[in-house]
Amino acid sequence: MRASPLQEPPQTALSGVRVSYVTGAPALDGVTLSFAPGEQIAVIGPSGAGKSTLLATLACALRPAAGSVRVLGIDPWSLPTAQLHALRRRLFLAPQLPPLPPRQRVVHAVLAGRLPQWSAWRALRSLVYPQDAEIARAALERFHLEDKLFLRCDKLSGGERQRVALARLLASDAELLLLDEPVSSLDPALALNALEVLQAEAAARRATLVVSLHAVDLALAQFPRMIGVRAGQVVFDLPRAEVSDQRLADLYGAELNASVQTLPEEPTAVLKLSRCT
């Protein structure tokens, strides 16, 4: 399901996007951003700033109340449901808590990344006998987890679960990679290693990689472009060389005042989708 060749390279962009909470208060307000193919971007900002909402909006998992969205060069909300779902096959959204069924074996959890490419019949056959187990093993190997291939997910530690969820990304063919705190359960050395694997993969398939991170030093070390989000608005969108200590202090500083203004509520649609985040 590749898009027909376009004049311009497929682009992902938000323009004047507003996403609202149940209360009507904005979760994102007036957000305008643009991402080139193959670009790698870190999104930083205090808790409740709207980082997850931003990623969900880019993944067509949240429909904005106002503004326009382009995902891989396509306006998702002008499409009929079937075509919108076909567009979703080309992107990969990874939530912060890896949603792996506890009794599922790792091999199937990783191969779930192939589902958009598989027919329903092939997916069922793979549960009877794993299809493309080599793909799963190779993906796990890059996170040093190849020996966990046939274990059940509930036998894994939190950090291992998080890396299994990332191995699913490696098994996919997605061109737009949206990762919410992908290394939050990993120690600093593993976190750096995992990010490098993801970045190398994104570069190899010329995919756009947008990652939200709590660890600002890691974001600065690994990503050429940084987006600072606070209270639902983009505070800065700069090459990392221009992200000064002062800007970071402003982004995170006076956090108390900011969080009083924007109570950390879930946006309407997200609240109904994910009860257990």
Binding site: R88, L91, L93, L273
Partner: protein, 277 residues
């Protein structure tokens, strides 16, 4: 602390509890009146004598080899009726639950709400399931005995239809009450409904689905006994003959066989739960 107060400390919940208890008893009595339930009739001389003679004729249980062979054969038939009937019920319930469950809805992803047509289909399926299970299996059995004649087929079809309605309803409830974030994430990344079921919803809910299905199988064994009384095959048909002939010893042997069957069903259920968890 008011140790020397004029009045005692009062529990504010007391009045509410007393009222609730009085209302409950007041509602229970008309129901008892309606059913003409009167334990005293049990203790009348005539009743006690009849009961005593009936129960007395039960001992000792009939153990003639010929009769035992007959009972074991009928018991196997009962298990077969329950098993095939339950298999048909699963074949009805699973597709119905897949079509009707909210968690596999693609249209709900971005909006939190199902589109109009799927919502109508979902409601229609729920009504169909209500219709299937609201008619008791014994009534279905009587209908099918007319249609296909005396024997096991009528019992199988009656269990299949009634239990299809019950299983379908409970499958939907089990799927929707589980943590369905894993399925949501797969749908957000473009997986199909069936794929999201096999790779997320099913592994999350499998122990509950299995356990309830086996419990229904146990119920089906009991139900096929009752349906035997209207000529739908199995142990029940034998028991009805023995009761008509006032052969209490034979009845007791068959009752002991029922206990053994339910006990075995319980063991199988426990074993499967152990394997799955």
């Amino acid at each position: 602390m008011h140790l020397a107060g004029d009045h005692k400390l009062r529990d504010p919940a007391w009045h509410g509890r007393v009222t609730a208890a009085v209302v409950f008893i007041a509602l229970l009595f008309p129901a008892g009146y309606l059913t003409e339930f009167n334990p005293a009739t049990l203790w009348g001389d005539a009743s006690l004598n009849a009961l005593g003679q009936f129960l007395g004729s039960f001992f000792p249980p009939e153990t003639a080899p010929d009769f035992l062979r007959l009972v074991i054969e009928a018991a196997w038939k009962t298990v077969a009726i329950a098993t095939v009937g339950n298999a048909i019920a699963i074949a009805i319930a699973l597709p119905a639950a897949l079509a009707a469950t909210r968690i596999l809805s693609i249209s709900r992803i971005a909006t939190g709400r199902m589109a109009a047509l799927p919502a109508v289909i979902r409601t229609a399926i729920r009504w169909l399931l209500i219709f299937l299970r609201s008619i008791p299996e014994i009534v279905w059995a009587m209908i099918f005995v007319r249609a296909v004649g005396l024997g096991d087929t009528a019992g199988v079809m009656a269990i299949g239809i009634t239990y299809g309605g019950m299983l379908g309803k409970v499958y939907i409830e089990i799927l929707e009450s589980a943590d369905n974030q894993a399925a949501t994430v797969l749908l957000q990344n473009g997986a199909g409904r069936l794929q999201a079921f096999w790779y997320a919803a099913l592994p999350v809910s499998l122990p509950e689905l299995t356990s309830y299905t086996i419990y229904r199988w146990e119920c089906a064994i009991r139900a096929s006994v009752v349906m035997g009384f209207v000529g739908a095959g199995g142990l029940g048909q034998q028991m009805e003959l023995s009761m008509k002939m006032l052969a209490g010893a034979e009845v007791l042997t068959m009752l002991l066989m029922f206990v053994a069957l339910v006990w075995i069903a319980d063991l199988v259920s426990a074993l499967l739960r152990k394997v799955l968890s």
